[in-house]
C-alpha cells in the first residue's frame, strides 16, 4: 500500500485487515495528523493540546475504519471533522474542571513554549519592523493580543473591513519576510 494511495483504498485495506492493515493505518495517520493538528491549534491555540486532539481523533478514526463504519472518502472527512469537534469540546470541558491557577500562567507558558517551526526572535522583530506602523499594530493586536476584529478596529479607529484587508496583506508580507534569505530581508 503506497502512502499516496487514495483515502478509499486505505479505508478498504484497513477494513479488510490482514497484511496491509498496518501500512494503510500508518499512511492514513501520516495524511491526517497535520490537518487535525491545524484544527486543534486553531481552536485551542496550544501545541500540546493540539497534539492531544490528533491522538484522540486518529484513534477514533482507525477504530471506525477497522469496524467498517467509515468506508467512503467523503464520509471519512466528515467523520474526522465531527471527531475533531468533539475532542476540542471535551478538552475545553476538562480545562474548565481543572480550574488553572490563572490565565496569566497559561499565557506566559504559551509565550515561551517551543513552536513547531521556531522562528528566530531577531528575525521576527526585524520582519515586524519592516511592516508599516498600522499593519504591524493590526498584526500584533490580532495575533499577539488576540483581539477580535471589532476591538482592533475600535483601538485603531478604522473600520472592521480595513482591519481584515490590512491583516491579509500584512500576514502575507510577514510570511514572505520570514521565508526570505537573510540578504533580502528589509
Amino acid at each position: 500500500m503506497k502512502a499516496e494511495a487514495p483515502d478509499g483504498a486505505l479505508l478498504a485495506a484497513i477494513a479488510l485487515g490482514g497484511a496491509g492493515l498496518r501500512e494503510a493505518e500508518r499512511a492514513l495517520c501520516r495524511r491526517y495528523a497535520p490537518r487535525i493538528r491545524l484544527y486543534g491549534l486553531r481552536h485551542l491555540r496550544d501545541e500540546e493540546r493540539a497534539r492531544d486532539v490528533v491522538q484522540t481523533v486518529l484513534l477514533g478514526v482507525l477504530q471506525a475504519a477497522r469496524e467498517g463504519r467509515v468506508r467512503e472518502p467523503e464520509q471519512l472527512v466528515r467523520f474526522v471533522l465531527g471527531t475533531c469537534r468533539n475532542a476540542v469540546l471535551r478538552l475545553r470541558e476538562l480545562d474548565r474542571r481543572a480550574e488553572p491557577a490563572s490565565n496569566e500562567v497559561l499565557v506566559a507558558a504559551a509565550g515561551m513554549e517551543t513552536p513547531r517551526d521556531p522562528v528566530n526572535a531577531a528575525v521576527l522583530l526585524r520582519c515586524l519592523g519592516s511592516l508599516g506602523d498600522r499593519a504591524r499594530r493590526v498584526v500584533e493586536l490580532s495575533f499577539h493580543e488576540e483581539l477580535e476584529s471589532d476591538e482592533v478596529a475600535e483601538r485603531l479607529e478604522i473600520t472592521r473591513g480595513n482591519v481584515r484587508v490590512i491583516r491579509h496583506r500584512a500576514l502575507a508580507a510577514l510570511r514572505a519576510c520570514l521565508d526570505a534569505p537573510v540578504r533580502e530581508r528589509a
Binding site: V77, L81, E104, A121, A122, V123, L128, E140, R164, H168
Partner: protein, 176 residues
C-alpha cells in the same frame, strides 16, 4: 497535487483570526481536512500567526514578566539608571535578560513611548507607542533575547513619559 477549488489566503487568514461565521468556518474546516494543498497553505498562515502570538515583545509589563517567572523562564534583571552606559554580558544560563530602565516617575494611566536606536548609526531599531510599564517601581522593562545577537549590539533606549516631556536615555552595550 492540485485543488480544484482552492481556498484563498484571505479566507484562511479570516478563518484563523476567527472572522468567519459558523457555517463558513465549518465549510473551510471540512475542506482543509480533505485537502493537502489548502491545509499546506493554512499551515503557513498558522505558523506566521503563532510566531506572533508566542513572541515575547521587546517591552513587557510587570504582569507579563511575573507570568514568565512563574512559567519557569530563567530571567536575569539588569537595572539601569537614567543616563547610564551599561556594559551587559548575556549569561549562558539565562533565557531572557530584562533591562530595568529605572529612575522614572510614571503616573498611573500615563502614556509611555519607548524608542530603540543603534548607538553606532542612530538607525531606528524599534518603537513602542503605548508601552507597558511598572508605575510602582518607576521602570520600563526591556526584554532581551539571545537571538538578538543578530541585531545591533549597542543601543540607546529613549523613554518618554507623556508626549511633550523630554526623553530619558539609557545606553546598553551588549555582549552575547
Amino acid at each position: 497535487m492540485s485543488c480544484a477549488s482552492a481556498l484563498s489566503w484571505e479566507t484562511l487568514v479570516d478563518w484563523w483570526a476567527g472572522d468567519l461565521d459558523d457555517a463558513a468556518g465549518s465549510s473551510v474546516e471540512e475542506h482543509l481536512l480533505g485537502c493537502d494543498v489548502c491545509s499546506g497553505v493554512a499551515g503557513r498562515v498558522a505558523a506566521t500567526a503563532e510566531a506572533v502570538r508566542t513572541m515575547v515583545p521587546p517591552v513587557v509589563g510587570p504582569d507579563r514578566l511575573a507570568g514568565l517567572v512563574r512559567a519557569g523562564v530563567r530571567i536575569l534583571e539588569n537595572p539601569i539608571a537614567p543616563g547610564q552606559i551599561n556594559d551587559f554580558h548575556f549569561p549562558r544560563n539565562t533565557d531572557l535578560a530584562v533591562h530595568v530602565l529605572g529612575g522614572l516617575v510614571i503616573p498611573a494611566g500615563a502614556r509611555v513611548e519607548v524608542t530603540l536606536r543603534s548607538l553606532a548609526t542612530g538607525n531606528l531599531l524599534g518603537h513602542v507607542e503605548d508601552a507597558p510599564f511598572d508605575a510602582r517601581r518607576g521602570a520600563v522593562y526591556l526584554a532581551c533575547q539571545r537571538d538578538y545577537a543578530q541585531l545591533d549590539h549597542d543601543l540607546v533606549a529613549e523613554v518618554r513619559v507623556g508626549k511633550d516631556e523630554p526623553a530619558t536615555e539609557y545606553t546598553i552595550l551588549h555582549h552575547f
